[in-house]
């Protein structure tokens, strides 16, 4: 019977001539669909969308109530589900609505019709099925929306909401900045209507996020003689609704992070920062707490002063600790269903760890305070083991990375709670995201340092083999490069001052072919730098050097030939490795000394390089010509012939005391030949 009635409704729209009956039918349909998802579904199945679109297109009266009612019904259908929205999009409703808004007679269109169209567009463009790119296909659509904002508060609210939701990328920001959107939004910040100034704040945030040009433009604008940042800051007053305070604080945070406002600006330090911490109170609802902590983490991420201020403001560390303890938002009024409780708990944990990771990034005192939070490491271990929550795992790894910059933490907290086990599990799990694995490896790199109590257990776990397996001989894409660099970094830290057995193990696991291949990755200077650092640490004993040197020398020569003159760090690393090789057996030394091209390159660097490069070159010379060695005299004469002695004598006039004393020692070896 319901379907029969629904069919009647749909059929009643066929008679387009009888506007009075049409009006009654539309009224009945409207009242039957509003609030009733089943009815919406029935009518869509029976083909109401094309009928309504026909009414929109064919109605003779340009400004009639019929068109408005049709749009209202379409809006109500859209509110049923994302499937309904997809149906509307596929039917071409969006274009029809934009055509209606951008008609030449726009000025005369009734405000109610325009508002209805915008409400419909808002429902569509703020859904998960939103065809966002569609909005940016035609710049006229954007300009039309911006122009229409002048009409009424409803228009302002709808357009701001659409744009705030649909501005995701730099390209979107650029397209919007070409319209007069920013100038149109500014006066709306002081709108007395909450439902206007909230989406306006969201819009300003979307426009200024990681966009210096937009942020600067927003910051420099004024309204009624007041800078915009001041007007935004008033929306952080305590009597404002919490979402308003949050988005106002977010706006100031984004303006700062986009370098439009300095970190010591009053509005950042004394308003945005305390507001965000205040919104972390346990009495706030979960969504507010999560967003506030995330924004706080972003605000203070790069500035040590802000981190210090945040750490001593309003018990921030204890407030964030409460995120980890509560199973869900402790605001009892929320009354969340069970699945939502679990999601809320995860979101809170992820946000807390993210905020901690920013707080602990630089300051030892802050790290200590965080580590002393009751039960923190228990929560950390739980989060690391929670393989169903990748977001939480990523946040906790970032937090550990910050905390692991503390020597004290490595020796105590990380020793009492062997988090290295979970980190290794994450690193070796191929199904995990590359981001997560790289952050875990970065944390491991600190745990592998020589003073770390976790180092030996990691070695026993076979960390060398596990890390070596992650090193790709020829990294194909960014993911491979990321994993390889981090693995090499870990091995580099492990090999520093390590036992001979560990160094030998590293070189054996990696293999000479793989090392040579990595040193040839000219497009990836950072990778080459790390591999050279690893070699420098590993090739410190003759046994290793003799095994590897012959093959490596060719690659090192090629690196010196091809490296950009500006990249002194690479040159320095290469020469240091050569210096280590020069300390090897006779075959190493012979191989080096007979390589005319390499030795010419080195004497040039000795003459023209930076102090560090010159020091490394002198070490090469010293290792080749130590006068107690048998073939030393022969090598010395070859070096003299290449001009080394002459250049060293020139360097006696250098101002660096360290270089001077080394040059003097080297010249003494020459003179004892």
């Amino acid at each position: 019977m319901e379907l029969a009635i629904s069919q009647q409704y749909v059929d009643s729209l066929n008679d387009m001539e009888n506007t009075e009956n049409l009006q009654i039918s539309l009224e009945k349909i409207k009242n039957s669909v509003i609030g009733n998802n089943k009815q919406k579904h029935n009518l869509i199945m029976l083909g109401i969308i094309p009928r309504l679109m026909k009414v929109l297109m064919d109605t003779k009266s340009q400004y009639s109530q019929l068109k408005t009612h049709s749009v209202i019904i379409l809006t109500s259908l859209a509110k049923g589900s994302d499937i309904n929205i997809k149906g509307l999009i596929d039917s071409g409703v969006i274009q029809l609505l934009f055509d209606g808004l951008s008609s030449d007679e726009n000025e005369e269109l009734e405000t109610l019709f325009i508002e209805s169209c915008l409400q419909c567009l808002k429902v569509i463009f703020t859904s998960s099925a939103a065809p966002i790119d569609r909005l940016y296909e035609n710049v006229l659509s954007l300009q039309c929306l911006v122009r229409i904002m002048q009409r009424s508060a409803v228009c302002q609210e709808c357009v701001s909401s659409i744009i705030a939701y649909c501005c995701w990328s730099t390209e979107h920001q650029e397209s919007l900045s070409k319209t007069s959107l920013i100038e149109t939004l500014i006066p709306l910040v002081v709108s007395p209507l909450y439902k206007v100034h909230l989406p306006v704040l969201k819009c300003l945030c979307a426009l200024s996020f990681r966009n210096h040009s937009n942020a600067k433009r927003i910051f420099e604008l004024t309204y009624d003689g007041n800078p915009i940042a001041d007007l935004v800051s008033r929306l952080m007053d305590w009597d404002r609704p919490f979402p308003c305070q949050l988005w106002a604080a977010k706006c100031i945070s984004y303006l700062h992070r986009s370098n439009a406002m300095s970190a010591n600006d009053y509005l950042v330090v004394y308003l945005a920062l305390p507001t965000l911490i205040r919104l972390c109170d346990k009495d706030r609802e979960v969504a507010i707490r999560v967003d506030a902590a995330d924004t706080l983490a972003y605000l203070i991420e790069l500035d040590p002063e802000l981190q210090k201020i945040a750490s001593i403001s309003d018990h921030s560390i204890q407030k964030l600790a409460a995120y980890l303890r509560s199973p869900f938002g402790s605001n009892d009024n929320e009354n969340l269903p069970k699945f939502r409780e679990l999601t809320a708990a995860s979101e809170l944990r992820a946000a807390a760890f993210k905020a901690y990771s920013s707080l602990a990034a630089n300051d030892e005192v802050i790290r200590k305070k965080i580590l002393e939070s009751e039960g923190l490491m228990d929560h950390v271990v739980c989060a690391l083991e929670d393989s169903h929550n990748p977001t939480v795992r990523l946040s906790v790894c970032r937090c550990l990375l910050s905390l692991s910059r503390s020597v004290r933490a490595i020796r105590t907290g990380f020793h009492d709670y062997p988090v290295y086990k979970q980190l290794v599990t994450i690193v070796t799990e191929n199904d995990e995201s590359v981001d997560l694995r790289c952050v875990a490896m970065a944390t491991l790199s600190n745990l592998l340092l020589e003073f770390s109590p976790s180092r030996d257990p990691l070695i026993e776990m076979g960390i060398v083999k596990k890390l070596s397996e992650l090193v790709k001989e020829t990294p194909k894409d960014n993911d491979d490069v990321c994993l390889t660099i981090n693995a090499i970094w870990d091995l580099m830290n492990l090999s520093f001052n390590a036992d001979d057995a560990v160094k030998a193990d590293i070189l054996e696991c990696l293999g000479i072919d793989r090392i040579k291949s990595l040193l040839c990755q000219k497009d990836n200077i950072e990778l080459v730098r790390k591999v050279l650092g690893l070699l420098r640490n590993c090739l410190s004993k003759r046994a290793h050097i003799d095994e590897f040197n012959e093959s490596i020398i060719d690659v090192l020569r090629d690196s010196l030939l091809s490296v950009d003159d500006c990249d002194n760090s690479i040159v320095e690393q290469v020469v240091c490795v050569i210096a280590n090789i020069a300390d090897g057996g006779e075959t190493c030394k012979d191989k080096l000394i007979t390589d005319q091209q390499l030795m010419s390159l080195l004497v040039d660097r000795l003459q023209n390089g930076t102090i560090n490069i010159q020091l490394a070159c002198v070490n090469v010379v010293l290792n080749l010509i130590r006068s107690e060695e048998l073939e030393s005299a022969d090598r010395q004469s070859k070096l003299i012939a290449l001009g080394y002695q002459r250049v060293l004598q020139q360097l006696l006039s250098c101002t660096d005391s360290n270089l001077f004393s080394k040059v003097k020692v080297a010249l003494q070896h020459f003179s004892t030949s």
Binding site: E2, E27, I34, K38, A153, P192, V196
Partner: protein
């Protein structure tokens, strides 16, 4: 905070209460402010005629235009008169998004409609209505399922007043829903959804709780309707 008088033979508790009353009496609240509070209450709650008369008698202009009250008054009257379908149509005319956005409110209206059908003895229609309009909502909301069950329980009783859930039939149920709709409409218009008087009552209650939490002794107002003070 009431001051403790010295040991002059006077009962400290009585003195404290007297002191409290004396301080209340000494607070000067202008007639103009009182009138504005009353006018705000009348306009917010939708008492248009009373507001118009009060405006003339007390010579106080309403802060908002009275003509926008007409729709709210019509909706309120339709709900209180049991004409729920009319009320829904009026709400949809005023704001077509309201009931789509606030499904709880919509279902409250449908529940009232169901109750009216039951009150009128139209059992079959009531069951059909429950099945076609309310069952779907109950599937997704345990809270509404409970309400639906309470409403349908009325059908089991010949004498509806004998049902344990007979409170659903009372005028206060309709007034509650009417008040929520009124608040939603005001919210939609960007106006405060509560009168300042209602807010003042809440602030008074909060203040008393805060003082109690701070272990301050003072005469509590336990009955706001009569403004009676109890001893500290």
């Amino acid at each position: 905070m009431p001051e403790t008088v010295g040991t002059s033979g006077i009962n400290e508790e009585e003195n404290s209460r007297a002191e409290w009353l004396r301080r209340i009496t000494e607070c000067e609240i202008s007639r103009a402010d009182t009138n504005r509070l009353i006018m705000d209450y009348l306009v917010t709650e939708g008492y248009k005629e009373a507001a118009e008369r009060f405006s003339i008698e007390a010579n106080v202009k309403p802060l908002r235009q009275l003509e926008t009250m007409d729709q709210r008054v019509a909706i309120k009257e339709a709900i209180e008169g049991g004409r729920i379908q009319d009320a829904i149509a009026l709400v949809n005319k005023l704001d077509p998004m309201l009931l789509d956005d606030d499904r709880q409110l919509y279902y409250k209206l449908l529940q009232l409609q169901l109750i009216e059908l039951i009150r009128a003895g139209e059992v079959e229609e009531a069951l059909n209505f429950a099945q076609s309009h309310l069952a779907e909502a109950a599937d997704h909301s345990p809270e509404f399922l409970i309400e639906l069950e309470r409403s349908l329980a009325l059908l089991a009783f010949d004498d509806l007043e004998a049902c344990p859930y007979s409170d659903l039939l009372s005028m206060s149920q309709r007034q509650l829903v009417a008040s929520k709709i009124n608040a939603s409409i005001l919210d939609m218009e960007g106006r405060p959804s509560q009168s300042k008087l209602a807010l003042l009552l809440k602030v008074s209650d909060w203040s008393q709780c805060s003082l109690t939490d701070g272990k301050v002794k003072f005469p509590h107002m336990t009955n706001f309707a009569t403004a009676e003070l109890e001893n500290p």
